[in-house]
C-alpha cells in the first residue's frame, strides 16, 4: 500500500545521517560520559559537540544548553524550575490558551499549588496580542510562558515583542519553540527569551531528547535529582547517542532550513488551495502567509467528524491528524480551535496535515484526489448534512 506521511508536527522520521551517527555510540563508543577512561572521554567529547550544535542553531552559548528527555520535560523544567526558584518573589504566571499540554498542564498544576495563573486569549487566527500580555502583567508576575509557533494551526506568535515587555518588567520569559525550530529562524537574543524549549524528534532527530536553553544568570531549580549531570540542572546518565543525534539533526536543520521552507510552502499552499477548490463548506484555520509555519495545513470540514476522516485517510495510507497527536486520543475537540472561537461541531471536523522534508507534489495530488471522495462519503452518512 502507498504510504503518505503528513503528520510531521506529531513526529518525524530520523534522518539516515543522524541514525548512522547514533549507531556508533550505541555499539562502539558506548562509554558513560562521566567516566574518566577513554570510553568515557570519547562520549563526553561527542556530547559537548552536540551541545555546540544545538547552541549554534539558536544563537546561544553551549553552556546555556541543558539536555532533557524531550520537549515536555524541558517545558516542565522551565516552568516548575522558575516557579520554585522565584516562589518567594511572586506567585503570578502568564500563559496563553493555545499552549501545548506540556505547558498548560504544568501551569495548572502550579495553580492548584498556590500560584495565580492568567491565560491570555487569542484572536480568530490563533495569535496572541502583545497588548493583552501587557495588561496581564502584575507586580508579582514571575514568569511569562508562550509558544513560538502553534502545533495545531501553525500560527507564529509575536515573541520578540512579548520578550521586550518581559525584559522591561524584569519577568522571566520562557518560550516553547518545539514547532518553530528548524522551520523558521529561532534566535534567543533576537527573541529576547530567558528560557527556550526545543525537542529533537520534531526535526528529524530521535525521540526522547530535548533541551532547555537557560540564559546565563537565570536560575532554575532542578526537577530530577541525582548524580549532578548537566551542570547539576538535570541528573541522570546522559542519553549520549540520542543527544548526539539531536546535535546532528540541529546541524542539518540549520543547513536545510531555507530550502525546506521554500519547498514546503509551495506544497502547503497547493494542498490548502486544492482542498478549498474541491470541497464545499471548508474553513482554513490559522493565519495565511508569513504568520503561518511553512509546513502546516489545518482545515475544518463541516458536517464530518475528525476521527472518521483520519481513519478513512489512513485506509488509503495517508497519515494526518486531528488536533495534536497527544489530544487525538481524547474526546474533547482541540482547545486551540475552541480558543480561536470555533464552535464544538466545527472544531470536531478539523484536520491537520503537516509537511516534511520528504513529501512530494505527487503525494499532495494523491491526497487531493482522495479527500473529496472521503468527505462525500462521510457527509452522506451525516445527520447534519441535509443539503
Amino acid at each position: 500500500m502507498r504510504r503518505v506521511y503528513l503528520d510531521h508536527s506529531a513526529t518525524t522520521p530520523v534522518d539516515p545521517e543522524v541514525a548512522s551517527v547514533m549507531m556508533t555510540y550505541y555499539t562502539e563508543k558506548y562509554g558513560n560520559p562521566s567516566s574518566v577512561h577513554g570510553f568515557g572521554r570519547e562520549a563526553k567529547q561527542a556530547l559537548e559537540q552536540a551541545r555546540t550544535q544545538v547552541a549554534e542553531l539558536i544563537g546561544a552559548n553551549p553552556k546555556e544548553i541543558t539536555f532533557t528527555s524531550g520537549g515536555t520535560e524541558a517545558d516542565n523544567l522551565a516552568i516548575l524550575g522558575t516557579a520554585e526558584a522565584l516562589r518567594t518573589k511572586g506567585k503570578h504566571i502568564i500563559t496563553s490558551c493555545i499552549e501545548h499540554h506540556a505547558v498548560l498542564e504544568t501551569c495548572e498544576h502550579l495553580e492548584k499549588n498556590g500560584f495565580d495563573l492568567t491565560v491570555i486569549p487569542v484572536d480568530e487566527e490563533g495569535v496572541i496580542s502583545v497588548d493583552a500580555v501587557q495588561k496581564a502583567i502584575r507586580p508579582d508576575t514571575i514568569l511569562i510562558t508562550v509558544m513560538h509557533a502553534n502545533n495545531e494551526v501553525g500560527s507564529i506568535q509575536p515573541i520578540a515583542e512579548i520578550g521586550k515587555l518581559a525584559k522591561e518588567h524584569g519577568i522571566v520569559f520562557h518560550v516553547d519553540a518545539v514547532q518553530s525550530l528548524g522551520k523558521i529562524p529561532v534566535n534567543v537574543d533576537e527573541l529576547n527569551v530567558d528560557l527556550l524549549t526545543v525537542s529533537s524528534h520534531k526535526i528529524y532527530g530521535p525521540k526522547g531528547v530535548g533541551a532547555l536553553y537557560v540564559r546565563k544568570g537565570v536560575r532554575i531549580v532542578p526537577l530530577v535529582h541525582g548524580g549532578g549531570q548537566e551542570r547539576k540542572r538535570r541528573s541522570g546518565t546522559e542519553n549520549t547517542p540520542g543527544i548526539i543525534g539531536f546535535g546532528k539533526a540541529c546541524e542539518l536543520a540549520g543547513q536545510r532550513m531555507a530550502e525546506d521552507a521554500q519547498k514546503q510552502i509551495k506544497l502547503r499552499d497547493k494542498l490548502m488551495n486544492g482542498i478549498l477548490d474541491r470541497i464545499e463548506f471548508v474553513k482554513v484555520n490559522g493565519p495565511l502567509g508569513e504568520k503561518r509555519l511553512p509546513n502546516n495545513v489545518n482545515v475544518s470540514i463541516r458536517y464530518v467528524e475528525g476521527e472518521s476522516l483520519l481513519l478513512s485517510l489512513d485506509m488509503l495510507g495517508i497519515a494526518a491528524s486531528s488536533g495534536s497527536a497527544c489530544t487525538s486520543g481524547s474526546l474533547d475537540p482541540s482547545h486551540v480551535l475552541l480558543g480561536m472561537g470555533l464552535i464544538h461541531e466545527i472544531a470536531h471536523g478539523s484536520l491537520r496535515f503537516s509537511l516534511g522534508r520528504q513529501n512530494t507534489e505527487e503525494e499532495i495530488d494523491y491526497v487531493l484526489e482522495q479527500l473529496p471522495k472521503i468527505v462525500e462519503r462521510l457527509r452522506m452518512m451525516s445527520p447534519l448534512y441535509d443539503q
Binding site: E305, S308, P333, H344, S382, L384
Partner: protein
C-alpha cells in the same frame, strides 16, 4: 486500536440512510463527545422490518450504528429494547476502553426511536 469487525462496519456501514415516513425516529447526541446519531425504524406488527441510520461521529460511532441496525432487523421491538450498548460492543469484538462510551450512541438512539414509535402508536390507537 479497532478490531477488524469495527473497521469492516466503519468501511462498509450497513443500512446508511433515511426512511421516509418512518414509524419511529430517534436522535441522540453523545453527552461525552458531542457526536450525533439518528435512527429510523419501519415497524410492522411488533417486528422491525427496516432500519436506517445517519451518524456524525468517530469510527466507533459509525461502526456501532451500523452494527445495531443489523442486530435489530427482524427482531420484535421488545427484543430490540433489550439490546444494550455492551451487547453492541461485544458484537463488534470489543472496543478500546476509551471508546466504550461511543456504543451508548447507537443503543440510546435505538431505544429513543422505539419510544418514539410507541408514542406515535399509542396516539394513533
Amino acid at each position: 486500536m479497532y478490531t477488524e469487525k469495527v473497521m469492516d462496519h466503519f468501511t462498509n456501514p450497513r443500512n446508511v440512510g433515511e426512511l421516509e415516513n418512518a414509524d419511529g425516529v430517534g436522535e441522540v447526541g453523545n453527552a461525552k463527545c458531542g457526536d450525533i446519531m439518528r435512527i429510523y425504524l419501519d415497524i410492522e406488527g411488533d417486528i422491525i422490518k427496516d432500519v436506517k441510520f445517519k451518524t456524525f461521529g468517530c469510527g466507533a460511532a459509525v461502526a456501532t450504528s451500523s452494527m445495531v441496525t443489523e442486530m435489530v432487523k427482524g427482531k420484535t421491538i421488545d427484543e430490540a429494547m433489550e439490546i444494550s450498548n455492551k451487547a453492541v460492543a461485544e458484537a463488534l469484538g470489543g472496543l478500546p476502553e476509551s471508546k466504550m462510551h461511543c456504543s451508548n450512541l447507537a443503543a440510546d438512539a435505538l431505544h429513543k426511536a422505539i419510544e418514539n414509535y410507541r408514542d406515535n402508536h399509542q396516539k394513533k390507537e
